[in-house]
Symmetry: C2
Subunit: 243 residues, 2 copies
């Protein structure tokens, strides 16, 4: 039976991968992924065949995975973080409709919300939502609607893709929406290059986050009404009746 | 410097732990955790000292960790899944205010939302929220408000703690709220005992989920308006403009 593993490699550093993910990469014949992710793992698996397609050529990358599997190879399709959170696990299943002879298995990994939270302290201890500010495949109105819902629900918010060359003011727009529901003193945090060289983190109030420039390697955390700063860390309590 | 690692061990199976988590457990002197989590790891680290407190004695467990660290031991406090998602990372920071000489480091792990999603297919590919139905520390009105917000925002919902002996009808109540915003055909999924013996998964429509008995080892996924079934798997597309 042909097999494709869709593998979340975690934030970047080899040791932040699961044992299972490393075992799959050891036993597979070919590793396919976006070049940035290939660069993160290739020194640890020097004997493997590596294949890639450019960014945004995700459908082609999935087709490539099934074509390689059809040659009898065991394929690992890698994603940073987790393959099932804004990753390739969904598209592989969609493209897989045309390849019923191939089995797909998703190997979960540590997504940036979780690895970034560990750097900041414990911002995601209670209910939270993940929102991507990329409007490539989602209308901005839908994203705005979600930000409003997150504000109304007093969810902690973790924001992926907070910025890009074309969307440099999106985080400010998101903060302005959340400021309609949250105090400007709401505890926030940003983490850059999680688990990679040059990792940095900062805890700051929402009013300062609004004025902060971030890039595509930044993950943003916006606290709920209970989130506090303890010894420089961003910490959300376990609920509203604290013991 | 005294040191406590707060370690997410993932869903249960040893290989679903990160390499970093396994290395920390290898090098620490004492492993502290709820007995169910201790049982998951102790065969892999037979030479370690293990300490525990009963369920709900979490503050005492944190104090125990700091007291052990004060004896000069390197301490690992373990949690299932990720330590920062409904885990002990927050409480350790809160209790740590009284122990300024001890450094706390959080080692992230694979939380049930991510590991359960991998079993079901790819339900969390786009924006989602995590909601716990436990009203031990959170008023039910707050939980209801969050479910309404999740419905209004068309978020995929992942539900933790969907049931217990005292809360056997909470999932039904949650489904009734979400049915005010979602079609009764909305694609849902449940996973039991993720990454442990007896793992089972099922994809079903929201109207059936409402009638389904779950237990405290179940993680529940409720799709958004775009979530579909592909070859028996629960798959959410990457957005609303699919390519």
């Amino acid at each position: 039976m042909n097999k494709i593993y869709v593998v979340g490699i975690g934030p970047g550093a080899y040791e932040k991968m699961t044992i299972e993910a490393a075992e799959v990469l050891k036993k597979c014949d070919v590793i396919i992924g976006y070049t940035v992710y290939i660069d993160l793992v290739k020194d640890h698996f020097p004997e493997k065949e590596f294949l890639s397609t450019p960014m945004r050529k995700e459908v082609e990358r999935c087709v490539m995975a099934f074509e390689e599997a059809n040659k009898g190879k065991t394929v690992a399709m890698i994603c940073s973080g987790d393959a099932g959170v804004y990753g390739m696990a969904g598209l592989i299943h969609e493209v897989g409709k045309d390849y019923p002879e191939t089995v797909v298995e998703v190997i979960p990994g540590v997504t940036a919300a979780v690895s970034g939270a560990a750097v900041l302290g414990a911002p995601l201890i209670h209910d939270f939502c993940l929102i991507s500010l990329s409007d490539l495949l989602t209308p901005w109105e839908t994203i705005e609607n979600r930000l409003r819902a997150a504000g109304k629900g007093d969810f902690v918010c973790c924001i992926y893709n907070p910025s890009s060359a074309k969307r440099h003011d999106y985080l400010r727009k998101a903060c302005d929406i959340l400021l309609q529901y949250h105090s400007e003193d709401t505890v926030c945090g940003i983490v850059n290059n999680i688990g990679r060289d040059g990792e940095t983190a900062r805890v700051l109030p929402l009013r300062e986050l609004r004025e902060t420039e971030v890039d595509m390697f930044t993950t943003v955390f916006i606290g709920n009404s209970q989130t506090k700063v303890i010894d420089g860390k961003m910490v959300t309590p376990r609920g509203y009746r604290n013991v």
